[in-house]
Amino acid sequence: MDEGEITAPLRTLPVVDYDSEAFWTWGREGKLAIYRCDECAYFIHPPVPFCPKCECRNVSPHAVSGRGRVVTFTVNHKQWVDGLPEHYTLALVAIDEQDDVRIPCNIIGCDAEDITFDMPVEVCFEQVEDLWVPLFRPIAHS
């Protein structure tokens, strides 16, 4: 079964707080929001109101390119709950802007066996209730 057929109601949602709100809602505008230090431009994820590089307290959500690479992935083979497809891919994606910012996600838009380490991917979003869940798909060959 194609991962794209996963149905939205099954996704469990996170509790959203002041710092994580942009990450889970800017997808409404098609943007992936990552906290960035206003002074030194270091990306801080998960989002916290402190820059560990320059100790600046002024940080704010910043729309990144949405492109990244697959750091690692796994293909699930066990049906944990009813309604799940037998195979789906969980991955950690590093954003192009800063390699130590890793985002858990499902990779969609390709067969599980075609996913590789370091594969270039781009963000897309799936709305679930009041949140926009970031997912990633392979970048189409230009």
Binding site: T12, L13, T74, V75, H77, W80, L90, A91, V101
Partner: protein
């Protein structure tokens, strides 16, 4: 007193309840069984116990992950203690031991009853139960970042790390499988183990994939059961029944990003700096270790620890475990001698401590390692959690 407080403490008694895939008594009853056995083993009575510790403390969430905490056990046994602690934010499962070392050093207690109770077998018969995700409830905390992505079990999330390790190390499935095969063989010599019938590498390779590259036989087996140990101040320990098993050194650090997504190196998890800390607190070296009880929530953890403790080079575990001879009971470094959590049952690192002491006291029966082992390395782990102990029998 030595500048390292753990050297003033020792394990003086151990206990274990019946281990099963469905208990005929309550989690508290199992805990009482293990606790009384540990006290009796040490030659202590209830009135001698003046501290209690557990990890991660009672979680009344129906998962069976930690069904009993300090308060329930204290009241069941009517203990009168000067100190107690049960909390999850600690260096892995051994956080309870490390806390006890501190409490003894602070003069708060002399004999600490430390326990870990699992009731996951029963919990899973009643309902969908795991430690990572509940369906239909918004998730807070560190796993909330994984919440929308069907990360229903630790297996999925750990498989992310394992796959990167496989990618970087080039380890083959038939090499990984040596961990499961070896432990099943050891379990066959352990009358308390859950799974005792032998398996082969072919059985391993034919076992279902849970989340690639994790096979079923790479995963520990949920059980009902409890383990208990007594940690005593050294001067007390020297006057008890058993030769003290000294806590020679511990690794308890958090000198890395404590995150299930952003930890510094996914493929080694948090272990390297924890192992480094442990070795910095002893004159002993990896070459002095006689046996190893390495965390095996997934066999990948055991493979990680072989490298991170320095028993072999980085990415050298594949060669170290090839063929299984080095890690067998007769090998140069017998590993998880009672079958571990994979085949013995998931006592979540406390089965490992129990087995370490069993071997160091020469009580292993058919699985006893020859040559009177004296030094055991033992560990916990999982993502950003890691803890390590070096145990030495006097």
């Amino acid at each position: 007193m030595n500048k390292f407080a753990e050297k003033n403490t020792a394990i003086t008694g151990i206990g274990m309840s019946e281990i099963s895939r469905g208990a005929t008594k309550s989690a508290l009853a199992l805990t009482v069984d293990a606790s009384l056995e540990a006290m009796s083993d040490a030659g202590l009575s209830r009135s001698d116990i003046d501290g209690i510790a557990t990890w991660p403390g009672e979680r009344a969430d129906g998962s069976g992950f930690s069904a009993v905490g300090c308060a329930a056990l204290q009241d069941a046994l009517r203990l009168e203690v000067g100190w107690y602690a049960g909390g999850g934010e600690a260096p892995g499962q051994y956080g309870a031991v490390f806390n006890a070392i501190g409490a003894i050093a602070a003069g708060l207690c002399r004999n600490v009853l430390i326990f870990r109770t699992m009731y996951e077998a029963t919990a899973r018969k009643k309902a969908f139960a795991n430690s990572l995700l509940k369906t239909g409830v918004r998730q807070a905390g560190p796993f909330s970042w994984y919440a929308p992505y069907y990360t229903y079990a630790a297996a999925l999330q750990q498989a992310l790390y394992f796959n990167l390790y496989v990618h970087k190390s080039g380890i083959r499935p038939d090499q990984v499988g040596q961990i499961a095969v070896n432990q099943r063989r050891n379990a066959g010599l352990n009358p308390n183990a859950i799974y005792q019938s032998p398996i082969t590498i072919d059985d391993y390779l034919a076992s279902p994939i849970i989340a690639s590259p994790l096979h079923l036989y790479d995963c520990d087996v949920p059980i009902d059961g409890a383990a208990a140990i007594i940690v005593s101040r050294m001067d007390v320990a020297r006057n008890l029944k058993n030769p003290p098993i000294r806590i020679e050194a511990i690794g308890s650090s958090m000198r890395y990003r404590n995150s299930w997504t952003q930890l510094d190196a996914l493929e080694t998890q948090a272990q390297p700096k924890v192992a480094e800390m442990m070795w910095s607190r002893t004159d002993l070296k990896a070459a002095n270790v006689d046996i190893a009880q390495l965390y095996d929530g997934f066999s990948f953890h055991t493979i990680n620890w072989l490298e991170n403790f320095g028993f072999c080079e980085r990415y050298g575990a594949k060669d170290f475990i090839e063929g299984g001879k080095r890690i067998a009971l007769e090998g140069e470094l017998p590993v998880n001698t009672g079958g571990g959590a994979l085949s013995g049952g998931r006592l979540h690192a406390y089965g490992a401590v129990h087995e370490a002491c069993t071997q160091l006291w020469g009580r292993g029966g058919g699985r006893q390692v020859k040559g009177d082992p004296q030094v055991c390395a033992t560990s916990t782990s999982g993502g950003p959690l890691a803890g390590a102990m070096l145990l030495v029998r006097d």
